[in-house]
Amino acid sequence: MPFVLAAGETEEFEAPGPADFELPPVFEIFGFGVTKPMLIVVFATLLIGLGLYVAARRATLVPGKGQFFVEGLHGFIRNSMVPDTIGREGAKYVPYLFTVFVFLAVLNVSGIIPFVQFPATSRIAYPLVLAVISWIIFNYIGMKRQGVGGYFKNMMFPPGVPKAIYPLLAPLEFLSTVIIRPVTLTLRLTFNMFAGHLVLLLTILGGEFLLLHTQGIVGITAGSVSLLFGIVLTLFEGFIQLLQAYVFTLLSAIYIGGALTHEH
């Protein structure tokens, strides 16, 4: 670090990395370490459950603030996202999609909530499990609607193609639907949260280091700029976190819609 050497400091800045996501257990239950992301998931679940319960229970004809917010969110999924992706049959899938969206939004945004400040979804297990659930749902719907054979036939053998070309094409459709869909659902969310958190760590920890652990005008200026940048990026990260929750939900809805009505 040129700044540090120029200021005659010997302290080294330790750049944040993947190790910052391997948090030690906060406490142990029967030898099972409970980590911060686990606590976030538990508290988020309780918070969402309680919040939605209260909003729905005290529902009035003229909605209060909480009810208005929840109804707006639910209405957005039901009246905008689902009709655009699944269509008329979509009502059945609104509860799942709404749950996924709210759950992911809260888990993602936990990355910028003061004092929590860790996106639980940057640990791959959480997106993976949700992606597997979406995967099971759309495959099940597809097989139920089109029959097991019909589902794979419609998936792998689009009509109007010379028969000789099918061996070239069929594996691609299979791979795309059965393997790539759940993998990209998982990785897109995980690494967006991972990278976003890493950037925030870098700008904020780096700014703190430059400001407090180096001497001279250069360190103070660079540190202030870095910290300011960190604040701006925190707001931007909030936007990305909501966006990624939306994208995950949208894709789940698209996959369900595709399984219900196979394209010709």
């Binding site: 009709p83 655009d84 992706t85 269509g87 008329r88 689009p158 109007g160 193609v161 070309i165 070239l168 094409l169 594996p171 691609l172 459709e173 791979l175 795309s176 639907t177 393997i179 790539i180 869909r181 990209t184 894709l251 698209i254 819609g257 595709g258 009505t261 394209e263």
Partner: protein, 69 residues
């Protein structure tokens, strides 16, 4: 079904996500087989051949699914 005006928008949205995933599948599958062939048969030409075949097949498939009127 095709009289529903939102069907067209739905198709386009699906096409965008589906196309990306198909091209990935094409490169992975045929490129992967090409890579294996290149190793086993000790001839480097199979890897680029597989990659190109995969991309071509994927693009053709996108056209079959969404490009035809």
């Amino acid at each position: 079904m095709s009289n529903d005006p939102s069907d067209e928008a739905r198709r386009e949205q699906n096409a965008a996500w589906h196309a990306v995933s198909l091209i990935m599948a094409g490169v992975l599958f045929w490129g992967g087989l090409g890579w294996l062939a290149a190793r086993w048969l000790d001839n480097q030409i199979f890897l680029p051949a597989g990659l190109l075949l995969g991309m071509g097949a994927a693009l053709y498939l996108v056209w079959v699914r969404y490009g035809r009127a």
